[in-house]
């Protein structure tokens, strides 16, 4: 502990990084607002990383607020819950909150405005409870990482490894987004409580809450919340202010800033004894354990100059984004960019009926003067600016050439998989090359090629197995025929012998005739069989034709 304390002030740096205009004041001045109920909710079955759960409701069912709509199936998955009471109208494919906007199964819920809740079951004395029971509770509450990827929280916390450090990530380094900022200002105590609960599950490692130095109010609120703790808890948890630099809120980057360690490639932070959770997740965990509330809503930042009233709101999961955009007074332009997420890593959408999910932290609607339209991509001048800013220390420029050449082996050698898609390279590129887009497509192509390869391999095996089976069956058939023929021949020969013995004094050419005879007889028999079969088939066919005609 004393060693930890002496280390407390030291911070490290990560390579690269950029300082884009932060523009956080746009939305962080007003408290998190509550919205009127939307007229319809589209609750996606899958709002996390992994497979969807099994549906528990049917169209026409009346559901209560907090009622589970799905349960984890045999392939895993997280439950989703009704964020308000109402009627399940249908289970439909609805455009998803994903850059592709491809349709995914959603539960269409019509709120009844009654806010009838199920009886929530909090866990009293959670610090006495076993980690397993708390994990099950978190799982049932449907909590997934609320910082970005949406990894199921219980799954992440269920570590067999020894965890020495829990990092609660309140860095929120991406410009414009202030959801975590507002949450920390208004609910610092709950976040600290959630952090301690997660710490308890992990066997009480040291806990560090990290906040970027551009959020003084949030830092103050957290400091105040920490002073309220008893001395033992206060010793376990500490607040650390990190310098503002994008993307210091990235999991790997923040670990490097706080500990100087790097997560091994293709590994997880748990491999070096660290677990990171977003402040929003810590908040949700505290709500789930202390109040029994499943994850039903989250803070969404509505920001950008196209909004008349930017700010933050509590968005019910499943709310169509149009409802939120209207609330903030969106004034659309001729070519309006609606970005889910921030200006660095968010994606544009063209359908305003897509729902808010567990990972939707921001809706950004900039004006064209604020974020101008993309200009034409020019030739790479090999200036190396991208390399200077890459936080993963990979070579963006080489990757760009390799991606254009579709050289998958080369991309793997140059560590494409270590790219975190933060967008720093494309941000500084003087030729405005959409580098990240090239990497995403290359990653998708590699993934597809891999899947196709596996499928081809399976198809080959199945084909070969089938060929082998057909061959075997053919051989078996031949073998059976041969044996049958042999048996017949033997029987015939035996008969012949008897015959011959009886007609001993017959002519000397008799054996030859005898050997001829059975052959002829066999052929004749076979011909007769075939004819009979043919006739039978014809009859059958005629009768079938007759059937079909008559029918």
């Amino acid at each position: 502990m004393s060693k930890q304390a002496s280390n407390a002030v030291q911070l490290w740096d990560f390579p690269g990084g950029i300082h884009p205009p932060e523009r956080k004041q746009l939305a962080n001045r007003t408290p998190i607002a509550h919205l009127p109920l939307p007229s319809v909710l589209y609750i996606p079955l899958r709002q996390h990383l992994g497979s969807a759960g099994n549906i528990l409701v049917q169209p026409g069912d009346t559901v209560l607020r907090g009622q589970a709509l799905t349960e984890p199936g045999h392939t895993g998955g997280l439950p989703v819950h009704a964020p308000t009471s109402g009627t399940v109208q249908a289970i439909i494919d609805h455009p998803s909150n994903h850059p592709s906007m491809l349709a995914e199964p959603c539960i269409q819920l019509i709120p009844d405005g009654l806010h009838n809740s199920v009886a929530f079951e909090p866990i009293s004395n959670p610090f006495e409870a076993t980690a397993l029971s708390l994990l099950q509770h978190i799982q049932q509450a449907g909590i997934a990482g609320m910082g970005g990827a949406g990894f199921p929280t219980a799954q992440k916390l269920a570590q067999s490894r020894r965890i020495e450090l829990l990092i609660i990530n309140g860095v929120e380094c991406e410009p414009y987004i202030v959801s975590d900022d507002r949450l920390m200002r208004e609910h610092a105590a709950t976040i600290v409580r959630g952090s301690l609960l997660i710490g308890h599950i992990l066997g009480n490692p040291a806990i560090v809450i990290a906040v970027e130095d551009n959020k003084p109010e949030a830092i103050q609120a957290l400091e105040h919340a920490l002073t309220q703790l008893d001395s033992q808890q206060a010793e376990q948890i500490s607040l650390r202010v990190v310098p503002t630099k994008y993307p210091s809120g990235g999991e790997k980057q923040l670990i490097q800033v706080l500990t100087g360690k790097q997560v091994p490639a293709r590994g997880y932070p748990a491999h070096i004894g660290i677990i990171m959770q977003n402040v929003g997740t810590a908040f949700a965990v505290a709500r789930a354990i202390d109040h029994g509330e499943p994850l039903m809503e989250r803070v969404v930042t509505l920001t950008g100059e196209a909004f008349a009233q930017p700010g933050t709101v509590w968005g019910l999961l499943g709310t169509p984004i149009a409802h939120l955009l209207t609330h903030a007074g969106l004034q659309t332009e001729a070519q309006q960019r609606i970005i889910v997420g921030g200006p660095m890593m968010g994606f544009t959408v063209t359908d305003l009926q897509i729902p808010i999910t567990k990972t939707t932290n921001c809706l950004l609607a900039p004006t064209t003067t604020e974020i101008p339209a993309k200009r034409q991509e020019l030739a790479c001048i090999r200036c190396g600016a991208c390399e200077q800013v890459c936080p993963a220390s990979i070579l963006p420029q080489q990757l760009y050439w390799l991606a254009r050449a579709k050289d998958h082996d080369g991309l793997a050698q140059h560590h494409l998989s270590d790219c975190i898609e933060c967008g720093a390279c494309a941000y500084v590129c003087p030729s405005e090359i959409p580098l990240v887009h090239y990497y995403r497509q290359a990653k998708a192509d590699i993934r597809e090629a891999h899947i196709e390869q596996q499928k081809a391999e399976i198809a080959r095996q199945r084909f070969e197995a089938r060929q082998a089976r057909l061959q075997r069956e053919k051989e078996e058939r031949l073998e059976r025929h041969r044996q049958a023929a042999e048996a017949r021949q033997k029987a015939l020969a035996a008969r012949e012998r008897e015959h011959a013995q009886q007609a001993e004094p017959a002519a000397p050419n008799a054996p030859a005739a005898a050997s001829d005879d059975p052959q002829k007889a066999k052929v004749a028999a076979a011909i007769a069989r075939a004819k009979a079969k043919k006739a039978a088939q014809q009859v059958q066919q005629q009768s079938q034709q007759g059937d079909s005609e008559s029918s």
Binding site: R23, Q25, L26, A27, R29, S96, H98, P99, S100, M101, L102, E104, E305, F307, A308, Q309, P310, A322, H323, L325, T326, G329, L330, Q331, T332, T350, D351, L352, H437, R440, Q441, A444, D445, R447, E448, I451, E452, K455, A456, E457, I458, A459, R460, R462, F463, E464, A465, R466, Q467
Partner: protein, 205 residues
């Protein structure tokens, strides 16, 4: 004499190096996959027979024996390119006589029309159709290679080849393929109120 010695020395050297090379060729031999296996590895394994051979492996053998590399429609240009890289032969465009490159498809049996004749089962090169005599058949979509071979034998024409639907997690970032939706500004946000919104001071920051 000097000529003779020169010839002898050179011949001796030639012999020596020849021996060294010969030894090295045997000693450091690199075992590589036979060509047929490598070609088979590249082919898409749909086993559709569009190339004119009964399956991918026979076509791989044919290519190894000098047949053209542009007869595989399911593999398309990408496969031709890979085969060209491997064999060193020119990458010709796909031979249209064998079919055209198409989107990936998967067979689907309209189950209420199926009479259970097992003809499609016999035709399937990868055993991806389940069913028995006079029992309804169904396609194991994950195992179907989209080879099309089951469609022909079906006496009641109840098999459709449906394009594989893309899932978000297997989307390939084709932003160009997202349709541009042109909407009336007032309809984009159905609940928007008509009254003018007060200008927010924060927008100047």
């Amino acid at each position: 004499m000097s000529i003779l010695s020169g010839i002898l020395v050179l011949a001796g050297l030639a012999l020596l190096f020849g021996l060294i090379l010969g030894f090295a060729a045997i000693r450091f031999k690199v075992e590589s996959d036979p060509l047929v296996d490598q070609i088979d590895e590249i082919l898409p394994q749909t086993q559709c027979g569009q190339c004119g051979y009964p399956g991918c492996r026979p076509y791989a053998e044919a290519i190894a024996n000098g047949d053209d590399i542009n007869k595989c429609p399911p593999g398309g240009e990408a496969t031709i390119q890979k085969l060209s890289d491997l064999t060193g032969r020119e990458a010709k465009p796909l031979d249209a006589a064998h079919g055209v490159e198409d989107v990936k498809k998967v067979a689907y049996i309209r189950e209420d029309e199926c009479i259970g004749c097992t003809k499609c089962i016999q035709a399937c090169p990868v055993d991806a159709i389940m069913g028995a005599n006079r029992q309804m058949h169904t396609v194991i979509a994950d195992e179907c290679t989209g080879c099309d071979l089951c469609v022909e034998p079906c006496p009641v024409d109840c098999i459709d080849m449906l394009p594989v639907t893309t899932k978000p997690e297997r989307w390939r970032w084709q932003l160009d393929s997202i349709p541009v939706t042109v909407v009336d500004a007032t309809q984009a946000l159905p609940e928007q109120k008509a009254e003018p919104k007060e200008e927010h001071s924060g927008s100047q920051v």
